[in-house]
């Protein structure tokens, strides 16, 4: 069977998750390879979650949070970006392709942007091919 990517989207419930909902209501499509996990805030995302997703075979991981100034817990997204950048440096040094992980701010009103971002990320992961961790976990 041809390989199909598995993409995990970790979405803040107040923004990106609502954006996904809106995309659905407005009938903007996005690829079926996207699997959304809802979290209370992007600041809840631990680097361990990303590693665990890789361990279980995810090919790409996308984290969506509120725009700066909009986080319901004020600074969760600031914390998220610092953690994300540091994790990305560490993972890159360990041989992970940094293109497989992405962080973006998508609000609840950006249904269209959500569908575009998912389509672009899916295309990128297809280009990169299967997760190199697969089969060895």
């Amino acid at each position: 069977m041809a390989w199909e990517p598995r993409i995990i989207v970790i979405a803040c419930q107040w923004c990106t998750y609502q954006g996904a909902d809106l995309a659905g209501s407005l009938r903007y499509s996005y690829p079926p390879t996207i699997h959304i996990v809802r979290v209370p805030c992007s600041g809840r995302v631990e680097p361990e979650f990303i590693a665990e997703a890789f361990r279980r075979g995810a090919d790409g991981i996308f984290i969506g949070g509120c725009h700066f100034g909009d986080c319901h817990y004020k600074e969760g997204n600031y914390k998220a970006i610092r953690r994300f950048k540091l994790f990305k440096r560490l993972a890159t040094d360990l041989g992970v392709d940094p293109e497989r992980i992405q962080l973006e701010w998508i609000s609840g009103s950006e249904g269209k942007r959500f569908s575009e971002a998912m389509t672009e990320f899916d295309a990128k992961i297809r280009e990169l091919g299967p997760n190199p961790f697969k089969g060895g976990a």
Binding site: E46, P47, R82, F87, L94
Partner: protein
């Protein structure tokens, strides 16, 4: 009651963990009166592998394994000890998580041998002779050496009952651990022998313990840059201290002399991947995202003692 039998083995380690037992000094005299040392190689007792191999299964009460598993000999003795010991303890951070010497996994064995035996400035090896696993001398005498492999923590090779952190474990902690073993007051199998508190929780510099608010680090500093204020948390001053995620059984030894904790105590309870949790803790304490780029060499900083226990580290591009 007969004295409990103890075995101690130094695998891919430095002997520091042996010293932490010897450092019990006066207490060790006591220990020796209450413990029967069945095997302690290669540092303290004159015991041979064949003596250990000849012992009946389960005849040793407690085995302390120090150092990581780095070659076929370590792996073999780990299996022998597992069979002979009722309780097997990964003693020290090398055995528990791979230790400093787990950083060898950043390189292939070939790269390491080439550096050590060919490339180094002081090496004179025109025929480029490298250590061989087996060599026949005079056409008849076979000489062998253990085969090198990637560095592993002990539980990648055999099941481990308990873990003790530290590089080496501080002797006060060793005394507590030995006492717990002797009195049978051990935690549930598979856990760390620890007081369960982070280095920060026992650190005099902790602002929270002084009733002050925590503040973010506004710079990132290397240890040789400036002199830290002895009364202020090192992390707040920009020295990347891993106290928040490290078990504090040492009693916060490094911060008490103005040196940031590097994580030798092992991960605080509930943390599977030390390096990733350290990334999370340190990133959360930085004032802004630009500081992230100023952290030099994150792998050596965050995985200094635990690289073999990292999942991402297992798929290194080398």
């Amino acid at each position: 009651m007969s004295k409990p039998k103890l075995a101690f083995y130094l695998a891919g380690g430095c002997g520091g963990c042996d010293m932490s037992i010897v450092d019990l000094s006066e207490a060790l005299v006591d220990v020796a009166t209450v413990l029967d040392i069945a095997f302690w190689a290669p540092t303290v007792a004159d015991a041979k592998y064949k003596d250990l191999e000849a012992m009946p299964s389960g005849s040793i009460d407690v085995g302390l394994f120090s150092g990581n598993v780095r070659n076929s000999e370590h792996e073999h003795i780990a299996k022998v000890l597992r069979d002979k010991c009722k309780v097997l303890i990964a003693f020290g951070i090398c055995a528990a998580c791979g230790g400093i010497k787990g950083l060898v996994n950043l390189h292939t064995t070939e790269q390491l041998l080439e550096t050590a035996y060919i490339d180094t400035f002081s090496t004179d090896n025109p025929d480029k002779v490298l250590p061989q696993v087996s060599y026949v001398e005079n056409g008849k005498y076979e000489l062998t050496l253990p085969a090198l492999m990637d560095s592993k923590k002990l539980d990648e090779v055999v099941p481990v009952d308990f873990y003790v952190g530290g590089c080496p474990p501080h002797h006060t902690h060793v005394a507590k651990a030995v006492n717990a073993i002797l009195t049978g007051q051990l935690p549930p199998a598979g856990s760390w022998i620890t007081m369960g508190k982070a280095v920060c929780e026992v650190c005099d510099k902790n602002p929270v313990l002084q009733g002050k608010p925590k503040t973010f680090a506004k710079t990132v500093k290397r240890i040789y840059e400036g002199n830290p204020d002895p009364n202020t948390c090192l992390l707040e001053q920009g020295y990347l201290c891993l106290g928040p995620v490290t078990q504090g059984d040492c009693g916060s030894k490094c911060p008490s002399v103005d040196i940031p904790c590097r994580g030798c105590g092992g991960p605080i309870p509930g943390v599977k991947d030390f390096g990733l949790r350290a990334v999370s803790a340190i990133a959360s304490m930085l004032d802004n995202e630009d500081l992230v780029d100023q952290i030099p060499d994150p792998v050596h900083l965050f995985y200094r003692y635990t690289l073999p226990s990292s999942f991402l580290g297992k798929r290194l591009k080398r």
